[in-house]
Subunit: 290 residues, 4 copies
């Protein structure tokens, strides 16, 4: 199976490499073409432009840094995906973009007769390297079905969620639960500490009970040391909380706990913590002038 691959950032490179390792023929492209070299050494072909890649491959996956890059790769004059996309071809955008961007790309691709799937992922560098991503796919069902062999290599599980936009929405829901949980956890750690209890012991207790989860285990010890190396920056978490609340607004869902959590993240941003890990929200709970 031949696959085009656009975008060789941290995530994209690891994903394309996995495809190669599992016997896929891969044609790669990256805005800075030199980033293609390593992949080519491992057997990949290289395209000069997105349009070239599309022309060559029946299926093309994109993994770009943000909505702006995702749009530009598709719509660029002469070089863009739209120049060559046509009936019979499939385009799978696995970048993390908002539902609106996804819908715009979908409309353009299908307008040319192509098929489109959005497939944002849950998981970062390590799961990408290990082929352990969770893929939240939506859009053209036949394309999804045909792409499953690639998804099986890239992730531990891929979900088909229906119409385009649902992948982006599901990611917001998941991140909202995560943001509220992080606040619940932070308040607990601070309450323990200020009440004369050990917040390290609280970690041990939580770890033994029904709430034990990898996030508490992974982040708790560094939070107790006021260390927040950015795995998922707080400002991005806050943005996702805001977008999830907006999704609730659209559908008339009242979510007071998420709203309170969002305001705590905003307070943390106002404290200059936006670029730290989102677990730094505990600093907003902790803060007191005394």
């Amino acid at each position: 199976m031949e696959i085009g691959f656009l975008g060789l950032g941290i995530m994209g490179k690891a994903m394309a490499m996995n495809l190669l390792k599992h016997g896929f023929k891969v044609t790669v492209w990256n805005r800075t073409l030199s980033k293609c070299d390593e992949l080519v050494e491992h057997g990949a072909s290289m395209g000069e432009t997105p349009a070239q890649v599309i022309k060559k491959c029946k299926y093309t996956i994109a993994m770009l840094s943000d909505p702006c890059a995702a749009l530009s790769v598709v719509f660029d004059d002469k070089d863009g995906v739209l120049e060559q996309i046509c009936e019979g071809k499939g385009y799978i955008d696995m970048s993390t973009v908002d539902a609106e961007t996804s819908l715009k790309i979908n409309q353009a691709i299908t307008g040319k007769g192509g098929r489109f799937v959005e497939g944002p992922v849950s998981g970062s560098k390590k799961p990408a390297e290990d082929g352990q991503l969770i893929i939240l796919a939506a859009g053209d069902k036949s394309l999804f079905d045909e792409t499953v062999p690639a998804f099986d290599v890239l992730g531990k599980k891929s979900f088909y969620l229906g119409q385009v936009g649902n992948g982006a929405k599901m990611k917001l829901v998941v991140n909202m639960v995560m943001g509220s949980m992080m606040n619940a956890f932070s308040e607990g750690l601070v309450l323990a500490d200020k009440s004369g209890l050990s917040s390290d012991t609280l970690l041990d207790i939580l770890d033994l009970g029904a709430m034990t989860n990898p996030m508490f285990k992974g982040k708790g010890p560094s939070m107790n040391k006021s260390s927040y190396p950015p795995a998922f920056p707080l400002k991005h978490q806050q943005k996702d909380m805001r977008l999830a609340l907006a999704l609730g607004d659209e559908n008339a869902v009242s979510m007071p706990v998420a709203a309170a959590a969002n305001e705590a993240f905003k307070k943390a941003r106002s404290m200059g913590l936006g670029d730290l890990d989102f677990s730094a929200v505990i600093e907003a709970v902790k803060f007191s002038r005394e």
Copy 2:
């Protein structure tokens, strides 16, 4: 090692049985004495009153239904623990009581020369039977150390948390985190559903990620079926949220997410859901007249 055991409710009976099975000599008492029969068949002795049990045993554990029962067993004229407690003896109350009750009992016991440990547990019937409780102990350190062999049989882990009251406080902190997490989870499930996503698929996605935990796995499927068999009644969860917020009040800890979660539990109570499982708070999130 000889141990007295006061209170043979669901929890107490399972715990006393575990002690017997592991070779402890156990003398039991229960307000309704007939409940002692099964234990006696398995080799336990029986005391006629709490005072008799205390007289006979160096160490006595109590597992009573509520603060009122815990106080009455200690303070009852003629028959109570206080009648016989004295230097050299230890009293371990594992009932779930507030810090104030615990302090009152502690004062009375130590006033007579006895030693006291509070040891509320995390976990319910099944963990009690399996000896898998988590024990949040506080009070006399020497008594705690001497009691460790019994704790090892009753629980998978026992924590020594310092002065009397800390066991009760730690339990509040843990339950507060649990209550806020349950709200985060509920809001996510409802948001998914109202946004046209499958809340069952959300469960699958959460289960694969960094937030996966036994509580979401255990309660999610029934919540999606609007079924809330009471493992931990909502009204008790709300009471613990309130007490945790009061603890925060005492120590000037602002906890806006827990406060929002508490109001959601109160809304659920006002909807008549207080006796259902605390996961029924999702009904307060779901509710709409349309």
Copy 3:
């Protein structure tokens, strides 16, 4: 002083009439031209198109129903404001629009050499008729200064708030305070009632103290009768809360009370109360299944 006036809805008609009464020469236009008749009877001239009105008058005020209408009056091919606006002319848009719409109109007008002021108002039908509006103006200062005689007729006070967009923003801030106050009031009324106190007596007590204000006095009695005739629809109030929270998001201002109030309005919307007065949010506080 000659003034053009575009838009003769409930508000616009009352405002144009006031200008006439105070000796201004007024040229009116309305999409449905027949609505101009009454004004013409009182001495107004009529324009066939917005462009005609602009051509005739040095100053033109617009009072349109929503951002869409505001944009179309300016940008319409052939007939729109842009066809005739030019150096020396001033355009004052008093419609309630978002900052973005305002900035777009400003750019177009000034691009043609014209001057622009946004001037959203606080107050509805009655204050419009009585010339008692509050005008939140921003934009070209010289135009504002020249327009003051007209503002003095239309409102009891006009504020100059600086650059275009500030009028819209100030209105959001004011409406946010209003929405949170309405929730505070609603919670008080329900708490009184459920605690066995009279919510009518609470109104009397509030009326005598430092919190007495026309909104509580005007809406309290009907709220106590569960009557919510729509003066300001709940869905619009909720939209303004959302936009105010977004403004806070932009500027990293954490506003937990407004966020909680917004969620209460959303709950009320989910109960089907969006078209009632925003005071109907009390129904979301009141609601219980029992």
Copy 4:
């Protein structure tokens, strides 16, 4: 009409003086007796103990500093109110106490055959001097009716609210609305400021609209100067929010806005602002590290 008066603090002295001025015969007592001198100069008699005052007067009003003082005046051995209270006599406690204290005093007084009214007031020094207090009375209706002439002198309005405890509860409801309003106001002022608008102009705009009220007018200007001279200390306001939320808890009323406001006051307390005026909560909204 002869009235006893116990407690000559700032409030009590002003109130007793008003009674004298309006022709009442007043017998005063104060723990520090020398504080009676000024009143005696104006024609009052003096009692050596509360018991003496009760013995002499058919009606006795108390205005004491806190629940502890209120209880001690009633229950003191030999000298307390209980020594002389009896059928035919009335005791009116206008101190600010919790419902529980009020109920305790009521039980003791009525147990001796006396009649009791609680009458906490809304308003501080100035209204006390001007006879412009608002009186929230509850308890024995016949005593209330007989005391109206005195209430008419002390306040601009007195309310009869039913059974003992209702006065205290109504005061909590009023103060809760006040605390939430203060948060709404604070968030608005900060949002204006951080959005590049003038918070002084916001005060002017609010003052002209439907939300205008003496509290915003009185406290706004000093809040904009970060000045918080304590008229009503923040820690007391926060205590009342907490007690109002507890009242809501008892009656299953969910109040998310008051809960968010309470957490903001707690944050302010943790910042060391408890002894400043409750308007200092704006500092918790404002706070950011940058």
